[in-house]
């Protein structure tokens, strides 16, 4: 039988000022009708470029180096612009990574679904409307008729992704490309989208190329998995085997880096003494305006204690208020309630003097925006050293502490990789010799292997300095490897705060259980 999608010996370069950079090399992949092929790789591995090549949406500096891309009997590389509009959507669909930006903010949901249906299925406006309502209902969206008249900003991220999926499936293509469709969503929403995908593929028998960096999730989603690294497919195997029997070293490294809750990385116990106790913290972002009332607080009277040397995990979906807590504890957001620290009680950011700020440091999610692009690494690190009475020559020691060469002091942030930048941000926090470091989703933008290295570094730094961590994350598997206790937040409330050993127990909050069920643990 002819494969639904066949890529053979395909190569792709990007032409840059430094010459051609190979992105894909000698890629050969086949997807049978009805099959789901998972394509797993880290950022920069070329997996998204392959999707753009298939959709014929390559940047101007792309240069294809031979090979062929065939969708059934169509040679994709030979299509004219006009033929392309007959193939995109109709025969080759796509679901995008970030549903919040993939819908036009000024058009109604209905318009954006029907414009594709009308075009590809030759429907009249009224028929397209009826079909769109049916499709939206089929992807489990409530009240689809009303939804048709709403605008993208009026629905949630998960609902937007359902709209996009409904549109893609509604045109009945032979193959659909999924480009990390759950990455931008929180864990529970993502898990429901995956359930939807599984149901729809069984119903429609559509073939799919499912791109992701999440090997654990892929073992549950795909029939076969291909691992791509530096533009090369290093291994292809049935999904059930790739975890159990990775053949190549690259795959084994990828498998090893996947966080697994049963593999604990921290074995000590924290001290009994309480380092920081936050009582009844409510975070307020906006004051009452002249014409509008104050919005409700972002968190609802949260109590939290961190013991000396403890790793306290703080998990919850986006918008649950976990970052708001971090902002309150560092004085970046206004709050009511109080914080007991080192024998003192702080009631607002104004009470946080240099001694407190020195002891409580924060590392942010995106080093790109937390490191000043106009300062060299040396200057970035010497500022806190000067501020907190350290010696500026300690920059080299700090760099060494985060396993970076001392020569990096003269570099600019943009010359560093994402993982290296995050190391600099960590070094900046440790320059103050803090007692508590708040890590706000610091590994979220990183690949699993880089994430594993950063975690290893954090644990080493903790062993050296005895610092406690408040580790904010949405990755339950990761936090169960390192935390002593885990606090679970939902809609501004603290619903659970348990020792990690008690996490499997029956008496956890239903939401915590839901969060656990949604975290993809690898099969095999």
């Amino acid at each position: 039988m002819r494969p639904a999608l066949a890529i053979s010996n395909y190569g792709l370069d990007y032409i840059t000022s430094a010459g051609p950079v190979p992105v894909l090399r000698d890629i050969s992949l086949e997807i049978a009708p009805g099959e789901v092929l998972g394509l797993v790789g880290e950022s920069g591995s070329g997996k998204s470029s392959l999707a753009w090549a298939l959709m014929r949406h390559l940047p101007a500096n792309a240069c294809e180096k031979g090979g062929s891309l065939a969708l059934g009997d169509i040679d994709l590389q030979r299509l004219t612009a006009k033929q392309l509009t007959q193939v995109r959507g109709r025969r080759l669909g796509m679901v995008f990574q970030d549903p919040s930006t993939a819908l036009n903010p000024t058009l109604t949901i209905g318009r954006q679904v029907t414009e594709a249906l009308a075009r590809h299925r030759g429907l009249r406006p009224r028929e397209a409307d009826a079909l769109a309502i049916e499709l939206l209902g089929h992807v489990e969206l409530r009240n689809p008729a009303a939804l048709m008249r709403r605008y993208p900003h009026e629905i949630s991220g998960g609902e937007k992704q359902r709209v996009i999926i409904a549109t893609a499936f509604g045109c009945k293509p032979e193959v659909i490309l999924f480009d990390e469709p759950t990455t931008a969503l929180d864990v529970i929403t993502g898990a429901r989208i995956l359930d939807l995908f599984t149901r729809l593929r069984t119903e429609t028998k559509v073939a799919a190329l499912y791109i992701s960096h999440d090997l654990a999730m892929m073992t549950r989603t795909a029939d076969r998995v291909a691992v791509i690294k530096h533009g090369l497919v290093v291994e292809q195997a049935p999904a059930s085997e790739i975890f159990r029997r990775p053949r190549q070293a690259d795959t084994r490294a990828l498998v090893a880096a996947v966080p697994r809750p049963e593999r604990r990385l921290v074995h000590d116990r924290p001290e009994e003494s309480v380092l920081l106790a936050a009582n009844q913290i409510e975070v307020h972002y906006a004051r009452r305006g002249l014409l509008r009332p104050a919005p409700p607080p972002a968190t609802n009277a949260v109590d939290l204690t961190v013991r000396a040397g403890e790793i306290l995990g703080l998990v919850g979906e986006s918008g649950s208020g976990k970052s708001s807590i971090a902002r309150a504890l560092t004085g970046l957001a206004r709050f009511s309630g109080d914080i007991a620290f080192a024998g003192r009680t702080l009631r607002s950011g104004d009470d946080m003097d240099r001694a407190y700020r020195r002891d409580v440091q924060i590392v942010f999610q995106h080093p790109d925006s937390s490191l000043n692009p106009r300062h060299r690494i040396g200057e970035i690190l010497s500022r806190p050293l000067k501020l907190y009475g350290g010696n500026p020559v300690d920059v080299a020691r700090l760099l060494e502490q985060v396993r970076l060469p001392a020569s990096y002091a003269s570099r600019w942030p943009h010359q560093l990789s994402g993982g290296e930048k995050q190391r600099v941000a960590i070094a900046r926090a440790f320059a103050a010799r803090p007692k508590l470091v708040i890590c706000d989703e610091i590994t979220a933008p990183l690949d699993v292997s880089v994430q594993a290295q950063i975690i290893e570094l954090l644990l080493a730094l903790r062993a050296e300095t005895g610092a406690a961590y408040l580790f904010i994350t949405h990755d339950l598997n990761l936090i169960r490897q390192i935390a002593h206790r885990i606090a679970v937040m939902r809609r501004g409330e603290l619903v659970d705060c348990l020792p990690v050993e008690a996490f499997d127990a029956d008496h956890v909050h239903p939401y915590t259980r839901e969060l656990m069920a949604a975290s993809p643990t690898p099969v095999g």
Partner: protein, 315 residues
């Protein structure tokens, strides 16, 4: 767009007008002009001056004068001109209507030329046509009004006797003549504004073309023409609306040069005369009328913006 938002926006406009009221009154108070002296001339006797001051309430405390003035202004009564002795409000409104007609025509022409030109340049980014369009637009915005006006008059009125060089005819009297008289001033103003609008439209279009939702629309299989018309233009227009509203302010205030060159008896000229003759009621009326027009235009722009982009709600 919720009624609450609209009410709030209108309330904000009322605030603005009240603040402008206070400012206009304060500034005219601070002017080195004595109303009585202006009325009676240099050689008036002290007794006559005192009598006039008493009649005009100029001896009252400032706040009382303001209260009197504001309560009359609220119903459109700004008093009589010290120069002509006629009520100033109708006079100023007539002048404003001429300026508004000029501004409105200029904006329509500007949008009709500038928006398509901006889209066109963006779609051909980096090519010769883009460079040439941008260059010509730059030239238009860099030339002072009087140079553009002189050149246009020289060509279309002097060498080619097609259009009248100066003067104003109300469209209520003679439509054809009105258009003829408006053509050159409108063209002069448009040359400048087209550059604004075109450059804004071009950069916005380029931004929107890079957006994820435009990519999504293309990958849904929509032809480029529909992608541009349905998905790009609508979003790229939003900032242009703000620019146009600000340009109306420029047109009302800065149009004095144009009115002077083409001898159009508009609000700019009326205010100029009022200021040089220290005609306080006219200055106050003119300033208030311009401020209110400006506030109204910006409110209208916000409403249009909110109609196109439903994310704007502010509540």
């Amino acid at each position: 767009m919720s009624p609450v938002w609209l009410a709030r926006r209108l309330l904000l406009m009322v605030y603005t007008v009240i603040i402008v009221c206070v400012l206009v009154f304060a500034i005219t108070q601070a002017l080195p002009a004595d109303a009585a002296q202006t009325l009676l001339g240099e050689n008036a006797s002290p007794d006559a001056l005192a009598a006039v001051r008493a009649r005009l309430g100029l001896n009252d405390p400032v706040w009382l004068q303001f209260a009197h003035w504001a309560s009359r202004a609220a119903v459109g009564n700004f008093g009589v001109s010290m120069r002509t002795g006629l009520p100033v409000a109708p006079e100023m409104l007539t002048a404003l209507s001429r300026s508004l007609l000029l501004a409105l025509c200029a904006i329509v022409v500007t949008l009709m030329v500038g928006v398509p030109l901006g889209i066109f340049a963006a779609l051909r980014q980096g090519r010769l046509t883009d460079t040439v369009t941008s260059l010509v637009a730059y030239l238009g915005v860099s030339l002072p009004e009087f140079v553009t006006a002189t050149v246009l008059t020289l060509v279309f009125s002097d060498r080619l006797p097609w259009l009248p060089a100066t003067g104003y005819v109300s469209p209520l009297e003679d439509v054809a003549a009105a258009i003829g008289h408006l053509a050159l001033p409108v063209l002069t103003v448009s040359v400048i504004l087209v550059a604004h609008v075109m450059r804004m439209m071009r950069s916005e279009t380029l931004d929107v073309l890079q957006s994820d939702y435009v990519r999504a629309a293309r990958l849904k299989g929509l032809p480029e023409r529909i992608v541009v018309v349905r998905h790009v233009v609508r979003n790229a227009l939003l900032p242009v609306i703000t620019i146009v509203a600000l340009d109306v302010g420029y047109l009302l205030g800065g149009i004095i040069v144009i009115e002077e060159i083409f001898a159009i008896p508009g609000i700019g000229r009326a205010l100029m005369i009022a200021i040089t003759t220290r005609d306080l009621p006219s200055i106050q009326a003119g300033a208030m009328i311009m401020a209110v027009t400006y506030a109204l235009t910006n409110t209208a722009a916000d409403v249009v913006y909110a109609l196109i982009d439903r994310r704007i709600r502010y509540d």
